[in-house]
Subunit: 215 residues, 2 copies
Amino acid sequence: MTLSPTPRSTIKRGSKRAVTEREALHTVLDAGLVCHLAVVVDGAPLVLPTGYGRDGDTLYLHGSTGARSLREAATGVPVCVAVTLLDGVVYARSVFSHSMNYRAAVVHGTAVPVTNPDAKTHALKVLTEHLSPGSWDYARLPTPKELAATSVLALDLGEASVKIRTGPPGDEDADVAADERWAGVLPLRTAWGTPEPDPLLVADRDVPPHVSARR
Amino acid sequence: MTLSPTPRSTIKRGSKRAVTEREALHTVLDAGLVCHLAVVVDGAPLVLPTGYGRDGDTLYLHGSTGARSLREAATGVPVCVAVTLLDGVVYARSVFSHSMNYRAAVVHGTAVPVTNPDAKTHALKVLTEHLSPGSWDYARLPTPKELAATSVLALDLGEASVKIRTGPPGDEDADVAADERWAGVLPLRTAWGTPEPDPLLVADRDVPPHVSARR
């Protein structure tokens, strides 16, 4: 039933296995929409969901300047970021072997605030294109005031790990041999629904392709 | 684009608004499948996904006894737990007003290990029925050895908050008045797929109703 923890570890650059793992890390990060960012505040943990985007081996984290944990993270304290995708529930023959199929990435590091306007604009483009591909070219771009009101952090993906569970249950041999119960996986799918236009739209405008064709 | 942070706060029991908020908290917790559990290890934050289940105002957290952060949490250190459900991407007229629709719960507290066998069995039932309703009555129940190999924590929901965003974008008046671009919400849905039987099944067995009829 557990999503086992991803131990604090580094995917070492260079080795063949590391290349595979880094590709898996990138794939998981690119497939998620929201991350969970953890920081330490007054000795206690604080975790909150926030948007992110990846550019190479840099993870950008996004938040309003009012977000306490992002303010904390911006001071150079250690952060931990998790991205988890659920793929199914694993119904085993025994309660004990019940589990989930999932893809999980965990990143450790120190988040650095992005303050240079050009770098911040680039980071916001990465964040926007992760959340809503096509929006950067379609929507009104940030004003200097909006840029200033946005807090962006950069986190290196050097210390990261990825853990993936797929496939059928891992029941005990005796339970499998007894064959007394059904076992298998109930997949969990996510899909985009039908776009819901803002009631404040005046003109009768088609849903743009970057929204209507999103897969 | 941000999931704004849920500030550390308490839903006070008793008041009318608190009742509503507590119902919303319960609804969010009951709708999720995985939580993100954060603890402090050697002064640094650690966050990992794990299974959970709710019974009244108690949240049970589940993990193998090998899970480092659960071992840490079991020593009585402060924990923070987040459950986040994504409901859609909010395409605004401006990049700055892009957002997500979501339901997010955050719980602060001190997790207490559940060690009494009867209490642990009850907690495991709650966890199992959250992950896979019907499995407790259908699957083989835990042996004493399996029970001992499982770590369960209990966390009181006394200090918790819930934050929900719904509806269309919150664009600036000037952007709305200009009416130059489409804006709206692209909903994100999750749905169960077709059950995938374990290839190791011997008998030709129907998928049981608690799996096939899950909604």
